[in-house]
């Protein structure tokens, strides 16, 4: 096997929990669980807590039964972003082509250090990141992204491996179930099983046509990657967004229309921040609401002119919410999705003429917030969701970390 250029992959071990340990050495060795936005669910846990059977997504009242000695910590995405970018910079010392895949995962165009094997280079990268950031990371090299990620998953925690010969690859794939591959969940696995495909090796050895028929082009790309063909290149920068979305949990159950409206306005303001950062305007706005006691619903509003202006987007969002609202039902989540994103010039409309006054107001609002902090100046309608603004930890969420490909 030719090993001149492999894909490098680094994945921080139990990232959120490890990030807390970096700044609080007191936590070293203790079972640590990081709680999500509401303080109700464990969104990450370290290996000592994993030992007790605590799972990601588990409610705290169940987690503490399993691990009564566990220490539960409020999430701090601002801190996690700081460390994430530090890791990105340190990995960047080893390659000019690094992909910021997620908050704690990085792919790069890998080459072995001069005078070192890939195995030794993996150890070197891992140890360097640990020294520079305090974070434990598992590092793997392989012919493709999928193989590198599988190798890293199997080497965790604090592993350093390189698949440089066919036997190593075959051995890894033979003992790895297909469900370990990112992108093959239970439903896909159920489609593969009648064809005798249970392990990654079975998948690699299957017919490409069959895989494409069962799992579409996405599955076919995975099959190619398992066979050593790079289906997805390293992407040092993110491709332009086709959609932008903001939203999430409503911090509890919301029945009151005013509170729901408060959240709608908050999400619009967050969405506008994103539109302006990416210098795009939305042509379509979708408001999606999930309910505790009813089916999820969505309302779509088309804008006559692509816009990033508050008043225009608010009008569209109100129309969307009218369709998505279920009176008397309890809402739990809301998402605003801007699509049909336009860059550069667009055709003006007679019905939505430019409004220099409102444009000026938007500019002032943006300038104040840039200077004095996020949400220092915000719509009065968000007072209905005021509890959320009282806590500075809510200022920065995981989706606010820009440049990465996924969470």
């Amino acid at each position: 096997m030719k090993t001149t250029a492999l894909v490098g992959f680094g994945d921080a071990d139990s990232f959120y929990a490890s990030a807390e340990t970096v700044r609080r050495p007191f936590l070293v060795g203790l079972p640590v669980g990081v709680l999500g936005n509401q303080g109700a669910c464990v969104i990450a846990r370290n290996y000592p807590m994993k030992k007790y059977g605590v799972k990601v997504g588990e409610p705290i009242w169940e987690a503490k039964q399993k691990c009564p000695q566990g220490v539960y910590i409020k999430r701090d995405f601002r801190w996690y972003e700081t460390l994430s970018r530090k890791m990105l910079a340190e990995v960047g010392r080893y390659s000019h082509r690094v992909e910021y895949y997620s908050i704690d995962e990085f792919f790069w165009e890998g080459s072995a250090n001069r005078g070192q094997s890939y195995e030794q280079t993996a150890v070197d990268v891992r140890d360097h990141v640990k020294r520079a950031t305090g974070l434990p990371m598992t590092v793997a090299f392989a012919r493709t992204r999928t193989l590198a990620k599988l190798a890293a998953d199997m080497a965790k925690p604090f592993g350093a491996v390189a698949l440089t010969c066919p036997d190593q690859e075959t051995d890894l794939l033979r003992r790895t179930p297909v469900t370990e591959i990112a992108g093959i969940a239970k439903r896909s696995a159920a489609k593969l099983e009648p064809h005798g495909i249970k392990t990654c090796l079975d998948l690699r050895q299957a017919s490409g046509l069959l895989v494409r028929r069962l799992l579409t082009v996405v599955g076919h790309d995975i099959w190619r990657e398992l066979n050593g063909v790079r289906a997805v290149p390293i992407r040092p920068s993110r491709s332009p967004h086709k959609m932008l979305a903001r939203g999430g949990s409503l911090a509890g159950r919301v029945r009151d229309a005013h509170t729901l409206y408060g959240w709608l306005v908050r999400n619009i303001e967050r969405l506008i921040e994103e539109l302006q950062f990416h210098e795009v305007r939305a042509s379509t706005l979708t408001v999606a609401v999930s309910y505790f006691d009813a089916e999820s619903a969505a309302g779509v509003a088309h804008l006559s002119v692509p816009s990033d202006r508050f008043d225009i987007l608010l009008d569209a969002a109100k129309r969307g919410l009218r369709t998505a609202w279920r009176q008397g039902k309890t809402a739990t989540h809301m998402h605003l999705i801007a699509s049909g994103l336009r860059r550069g010039p667009w055709q003006q409309s007679l019905f939505e003429p430019p409004d220099p006054k409102l444009d000026a107001v938007a500019r002032v609002k943006r300038a104040v917030n840039e200077r004095y902090g996020r949400w220092k100046l915000r719509s009065g309608a968000t007072l209905y969701a005021n509890d959320w603004y009282d806590d500075p930890a809510n200022e920065h969420e995981v989706c606010d970390i820009r440049g990465k490909f996924c969470f």
Partner: protein, 154 residues
């Protein structure tokens, strides 16, 4: 509410540990020793940083008929409204690495604010509380109040 705290054994001077028999409160958490202070323990005490010195003080009172407010917690608003006008409340810090309520151990970065009240029998400390945030309520099975943390928001 916060009904117990833990402090790493290494943060308590040996002399203080000996004097107040704190070795009886030493617990092992995954191989690490810490001293725990719970409301249910007798004597009910808390470590307090006061006038630059670490002390062990009685934690509130469990007697309903005395002059002191019953319990180990007082609300910050009540103190501001003059709950202790008869005495001179002294603002103190209760150092802690962890806090506990209804079985949830949570991280404390600096400590909890408290007030020390002089009595005939010596000073007594109360934990200061405020209405719980939504986050704290969820974390602690809907506790309506939370401690006033030092430079920390939960």
């Amino acid at each position: 509410m916060c009904t117990g705290i833990a402090l790493a054994s290494s943060e308590l001077p040996v002399e203080l540990t000996r004097l107040h028999r704190l070795t009886e409160r030493v617990y092992d958490r995954e191989g690490r020793e810490e001293v725990q202070f719970h409301w249910w323990q007798v004597p009910t005490v808390l470590p307090v940083r006061r006038n630059g010195r670490l002390q062990i003080l009685p934690w509130g009172t469990k007697y309903r008929r005395g002059p002191l407010p019953y319990g180990g917690w007082v609300s910050l608003d009540h103190v501001r409204d003059g709950l202790f006008t008869h005495a001179t409340p002294d603002e103190v810090v209760i150092p802690a690495n962890l806090g506990q309520h209804k079985g949830t151990w949570f991280l404390i970065t600096e400590g909890i604010k408290g007030v020390a009240i002089e009595t005939r029998g010596g000073p007594v400390v109360y934990m200061l509380t405020e209405p719980a945030s939504n986050y704290y309520r969820n974390m602690t099975e809907q506790s309506p109040v939370m401690p006033v943390f030092v430079d920390q928001v939960i």
